[in-house]
Symmetry: D2
Subunit: 283 residues, 4 copies
């Protein structure tokens, strides 16, 4: 009989559709479970009761960790682990965990107030990138080229009103580089693609739809990806690397990665790889 | 017996202190009344009952108009009028009222959504200035030099969450100009000072503490100020003009103006002028 | 040739669909124009250029007044007038305008801070109703039966973060009453229906889907409706009355009213009445 | 030579003042370090460099965990541990961690959407308590006695705008009980006091200033407190217990507890106990 997997997400997007379709070939029955109507907490966690595994793909940067925490506590196998999701949802924590493990990350400053922000600008100089600690899809990630607009932008941060939204990182702008998006399933790097800056727009990640091209497997990439997985544990990750003069640094790790662009660029069947990994986990 | 005046404000700052001190010489007893504990609405409007006049100096860009509306309805003489305050608190309304009256204002676009914003950028080109329709003290007024950061900044607008906060104007950046701050009491221009851009910072208004120098009375200034007062009615205003190649345009009218910088630059005793005007009004 | 009418709204709901369909029989061509992509402000107000009239039906409680202000300034006939929309969008202003005109409204207090709120509770006692000054669809309108939860609810008001959202009215709870929704087109009351409290839920307005029944035309209703229209000017209004021991009071006036429930309860063809009124206006 | 301790907090309140004063007698030099100007992140974490220990007392429910994470990564002894602070800052995580360890906590539902909220009301029935997952000082903790106001209150949750602020717990209201506040230093319960409901107000925690009375040490209290400390690790905690018909349950654990009320009720010199514990830790 087929094992059942709950894909917990706010909606069925391209990735969830592919995961649902890929299940049967691996002996899995995969359902979408709306992350808005779980109401977890009861001892028997009704909405997820009876599933053999839970795949957390909430795009919200708050729901994933909370859902994984409660689902794990209910004894369910959960991908990714609550610990990994919590690290990925919090860019300050992620950088700290990785740096402590000796993995290269961009320099950064933790900015919780305008005083912090002024100090960070002074220490790092312009250009810098301001980014929310909690957030995704490149939202509110802002390149600050000129110090005279920095404080106008920070006015917006202050007016966001809530402390979590105000928590930011400021980091040096790594100009001219390209970014490499690596897709990990389990402990294996199943695909990687490079996203180069298109023209004059400084943003170059996949979510923004820029040009992508296939990337040959590279020992430097493999090494850094292995180290990240070693630290966060096996799971499904989108690991974004920046190429710098001193080699790669880990910019971000996404715990519910989009994989359409990497699948397209590499031809790898990522949903099949995920389904096979879940089956292996449940064996 | 002295007439009593309520200065309604969130706190006693430099301006309120001077107004309270200037009262007695004009036969006025001036009190500060906290705009946070008025609880207006009852037929007898308790907190303002017994005052001969009300001077609204709420720095909040929502309280002034509401307080003035209810105080006028209770039959009190109110400075400025609710109609004038409402126009000054709403930059889109102010520009429209002035432009309709034939008074020069900067070109602008009303931006209520990202679609509006994209259209405004396309129509006006960069650089533009993005500013909140409801807001003061130069907060969140942002120069956008490069189109690749425009949408990052707009991410913040979207995340402000509430419709009033999201309502913006986009306008062409009037580069290299200086700004002239005019202080009006009643219908008279009692003082004016120029604030020039200091160095590389594009912001040049008094609230940001830039260099100021005395401005000789100028028929072009007087003419435009008279027209604004003709439209909004007599009152106490800080009128900000931009000097452009085609003459002055009205950037902003402040209904609860700071006047320390203009007083310092011109030597005019503004609190005495205000007190004399209130006395004249009550005569 | 058909006159053209722009129905400015965020989407085509039941009402907009009916208005578009009702046009041709009255010689009108009615288009939906998305209120998110107007980008008004240029001298020629591109997006509305060429229309003979504008019908503002933005559900947002900020867009309507801004759009009407700029469309009027561009010389277009606009329904409702910017002045009427501004009054309807601001519950404190509306009550003040009506009360000043001698029209009965519920007692209320203007609450801009926790101090105001505490004072309002003390003056009015429980139960009271707390409602946002700017808002619609009954959202955040809260019955406070017990003073020990009042301050917990006010914690939420404070955490809304932005001044317009925090501005509230507090009013006595008019228990046990029913509400009468009146539909006005031009200066005429074209339909009215009563909405009675269903069971134990204190909310009884149409937007919440309660039971409705036809109401015979009543001289007391006609008189109060005429007075409201006399004050706000001809237009299209949903006027909500509360029936109290002392007769009707005006609870709310909606400038972009839903009319499905009243149309259903009365059999009146409201879209045809609107189209006929627009045609008459343009004649 | 005295060891130096940084007390990281937003301000010097009663507790911080007492900690600073208690240091010298234990050979400690205790400084207040403003949590708004740390700008942590650089390899040498400038603002905390040179301190022998860090005591995190940020009242903000976001700063503590971030600051502790970066300070620990910089190799500093930090009280409490980042892991403990993160658990205390997140009420859903805390309950899950404790329940998984077999420690009694109130039943609860995780509410991330209106659908969750409706489901929680249905499963638990009224009265329930709605509380933010991230938050302190009893703010926004609301007793919902009547289901007809539940959705009005949830309107406010939705309008908070940001996902972290919207994340709530719903739990059964444990009526008529009293609460016991326990102060832990290291692994020892140094003081406990009971806070009984005063009159008709349902809130009874110390932060709200209710009546307090001394509590004799109770084996049931000691057992549950030991279990909490066993799970979170040694540190400085305020542990709130509810007394129910089935014994105590852990309502909340505060990682930067106020201790004035417990100190007053018990006569225990809590600052001296803290200083002694820090000294012991550094020995």
């Amino acid at each position: 009989m087929a094992r059942t997997v709950a894909v917990v997400a706010d909606r069925i997007a391209w990735e969830e559709r592919r995961l649902i379709e890929a299940g049967p070939a691996q002996g899995l029955s995969v359902d979408w479970v709306n992350d808005e109507s779980l109401c977890l907490g009861a001892a028997d966690t009704t909405a997820l009761h009876g599933y053999d595994a839970v795949l957390v793909r909430s795009r919200s940067y708050t729901r994933g960790g909370l859902v994984a925490t409660l689902a794990e506590a209910a004894g369910l196998p959960v991908l990714n682990s609550a610990r990994a999701i919590n690290a990925c949802e919090n860019k300050a924590l992620l950088r700290t965990v990785l740096r402590t493990a000796g993995i290269p990350v961009p320099d950064f400053r933790l900015v919780l107030s305008r005083k912090d922000f002024a100090k960070a600008l002074q220490e790092l100089g312009t250009p810098v990138v301001l980014k929310p600690i909690f957030g995704g899809m490149g939202k509110r990630v802002t390149l600050i080229r000129d110090s005279d607009i920095a404080h106008s932008v920070y006015d917006y941060v202050e007016d966001l009103g809530h402390a979590f939204e105000q928590a930011c990182l400021v980091e040096p702008f790594l100009a001219g580089g390209s970014s490499v998006r690596c897709l990990v399933v389990g402990r294996e790097l199943v695909g990687a693609a490079e996203f180069a800056t298109a023209g004059t727009d400084w943003r170059n990640n996949a979510a923004l739809g820029n040009h992508s091209s296939a990337l040959a497997h590279d020992p430097d990439v493999v090494k850094i990806v292995d180290a990240v997985v070693g630290e966060l544990g096996a799971g499904i990750y989108g690991i974004d690397l920046f190429r710098t003069g001193d080699g790669y640094v880990v910019n971000e790790v996404n715990h519910a990665p989009g994989f359409r662009a990497v699948a397209g660029a590499t031809g790898v069947d990522i949903p099949a790889a995920v389904a096979a990994y879940v089956q292996e986990l449940l064996a």
